[in-house]
Amino acid sequence: MEDTLMIKEEPVITFKNPVLLMEDLSVSYTEDALAVDNVSAGVKRNSITAIMGPSGCGKSTLLRAINRMHELYPNIKITGRIYLNNKDITSMNPILLRRKIGMVFQSPNPFPTMNIYDNVIAGFKLNGVRLKKIEKDEIVETSLREVALWDEVKDSLFKRGTFLSGGQQQRLCIARALAYKPDVILMDEPTSALDPVATSKIEDLLVKLKENFTIILVTHNMAQAARISDYSMFMYLGKLIEYGKTKNLFTRPVNKKTEEYLTGKFG
């Protein structure tokens, strides 16, 4: 089954035993318009899946449906189903779900009142999980090493996280998401607020992280999707227009809209 294009109305790829599976997912902010329109797609384990599309195409909205972030805002309506490891996420406790699906945001948002050390273990700390000092130290060190931040901050672990540079803050936020060992990490344009050097550091990091995690990356930077993602989705006006291996999608797009977007005709 893998890698075969299923030509229904739109070309969509399917996987065996996907970590995430969306079925007929629709999200709407207002009654008359769908921000995400009937999307069905699976996500392959230990890969980077990029979601591309012009502004307002619903890519962030789709992402935030996966960890049920929309439930913070009661006027948002969601229909369809999402399965995490074959389990319907609406049947799970949202709090426990969010511990399995980490999230990194567009602009770095370390907790301003916490130091670097506490920011990494914020998930444990805020949830009241009691850890021994050794366990905490280990989590902090491994998480910071995974994001290649350990050497830069090991002497200032107890300084506020907000004193770091933008790129370092974003890596700290990734470390915070990793600390809980989630199955999936959602990233909502994680480099759009960063300079090129910090961006390339984060991109290298993501490629390394996919050994242990599944990453879904929303980006409106096509070059970034081409560089680091294994699979790409192209969304337009809330619809999933095309989904396939990044290599194929960029070289031989099936849909005319995808081709127009990739060649810069709109977006």
Binding site: F105, T113, T162
Partner: protein
Amino acid sequence: MKRIVEIDKSVLRRRLYKDKLFYYAVISLSAITTLPLILIIVKLLEKGVRQINLSFFTQTTPNTLEAMVAKANGDIIPGGILNGITGSLLIVLFACIIAIPLGVLAGIYLYENQSSKFSDVIRNITDILQGVPSIILGVVAYNWIVVNITRGFSAIAGSVALSIMMLPMIIRSTEETLKMIPSTIKEAGIALGVPYHKVLFRVLIPSGLSGLLTGILLGISRILGETAPLLMTALGSSVINFDITKPTSAVPLLIWEFYNDPNLVDLIWSSSLFLMGFVLFVNIIAKRIAKKWKIH
């Protein structure tokens, strides 16, 4: 192409002159607005400083006779306002104990439910409450507490009246502060699988603590000088009292008492100086906190 029209020199000079005139007018007028405060402080220092010594802070109010004798001998009036200071602290402390939890919770509710009908009602009532004359709050507290609960004048009745005065400020500052915290901070907490109430109390409130403290301190500085509601509730007392069900003195009440006693009238100035200084101090601390821990 035409050249840009050159401005006539005399016109230019007139414009520069007008500009300067306006500049100095603005400066001098804004200087005038600071005058009342400066005049008040100068007057209080001039008349009050003579009475301020250690015993002013460590002794209770003198009786009329002692004061009369001292005045006749040309000495300063003995005694101090310790009963007023402790009374003010006691009343304000209990006002805070009542108003802070209620106000902060109401502020959180308004922040959470920006546009619900009930929030609008609360917001309007809060605004109206801010404009209720303090003496009316005194009457109400008298009726609620003095008549029905403590069956006599009491510090707690004063605290209730003052807490109602504080509430609007705390509610509004809590709401405004929480609104200023970027929503991504809240979402970061939620995305880590932290239950909402923990995000609120362990992430949002600590992040906005400076704003909350500022609101509370400004509220305190507002009620510190209130006299009218206390006249009908705490009444006043010539001894140090820490029992909230008993009549208690407060600095503004003492000023009123001194005003009514020809022998003690000189103590008005030093008491006013103290009260003014204390309120200024609280205000400055509030401003400092707001500046230092600004939300980034």
